[in-house]
Symmetry: C2
Subunit: 145 residues, 2 copies
DNA sequence: CGCATATAGTTACCATGGTAACTATATTGT
DNA sequence: ACAATATAGTTACCATGGTAACTATATGCG
């Protein structure tokens, strides 16, 4: 999350950064603007998911299972490879999804430690129903990007 | 935070979104890429601030006081106007900054509810010392932006 | 004036992010 | 075979985000 509402003017950035690398202060201004825009976008997405009793993470967990070619399940550690999230946080997200019947789990026969995670009919339908709004938010015009 | 490491291919986005608005799927791809890049950037900034016993928010609180023209202090509610953060979160951030001697507070004489917040010599020096690294991270080249 | 409303800031509680350390199972190497 | 190491997932604990409701003070208005 990036909180700054009113971005510093170029003059202000120059004032702060000119001693160090004046040649890069335009980059700095662009990055700050990008940070602000994407933070706003992330807030919109989070609000949207919250209105469906989801979070971005729980949505993405379902997405990476859904988009997996050739298989209808993933193990938690495979999800960790696909999402930039720590194991404990993923573990809890999965627990919540299972509690909400949005994920089903099955012990793996080869590896007693591992758990197969698959989408349920409910979550497949939920995914289909929320995707339009998701893409809508993502494709909405922002000020500059 | 946006977690997805491997972004969906254009073909995948089309598969998901073509029923709804195929004409916008390029926007979607661009936005997802932007989200990922800015999430990575935010992580780098957070790590940098953490290495100085700060957070992005506490840094920005000091910055908005420092950058205020004509005055050397702000009230908490004025900081709320400048930063997109809830009052309780700001309240705690301020408490931590005061505890670390990075902010000094003084009761306002006109309004007994309000508290004047100013930078301390320590925080002015700290700001100066961390700004180069901050701009460095912001101006570092990313893959596409 | 004095009551209703607004504002400044805090408290209580919850959601979600992280790391370190743990249990249980699998694998590796001698 | 079995000890050492690696891996799957969880637990415990902390940081930081949010909203609702609270206290205290200020303001507006009949």
């Amino acid at each position: 999350m990036f909180f700054l509402k009113e971005l510093p003017t170029q003059a202000m950035i120059n004032r702060y950064s000119e001693d160090y690398f004046p040649e890069r202060s335009e980059d700095v201004a662009k990055k700050l603007q990008g940070l602000r825009e994407y933070s706003t976008l992330i807030r919109k997405l989070e609000d949207y998911f919250a209105s469906h009793n989801l979070s971005q993470l729980r949505f993405l967990v379902m997405m990476v299972i859904d988009r997996e070619p050739d298989r209808d399940h993933l193990f938690a550690h495979e999800i960790t490879e696909r999402l930039d999230v720590s194991k404990p946080v993923l573990s809890r997200a999965i627990k919540k999804l299972i509690a909400a019947s949005l994920l089903s789990s099955k012990k793996d026969k080869q590896d007693a430690r591992a758990v197969l995670l698959s989408l349920t009919p409910t979550s497949k339908e939920l995914l289909r129903s929320i995707l339009p709004g998701y893409f809508d938010i993502l494709s909405a015009q922002s000020h500059s990007v």
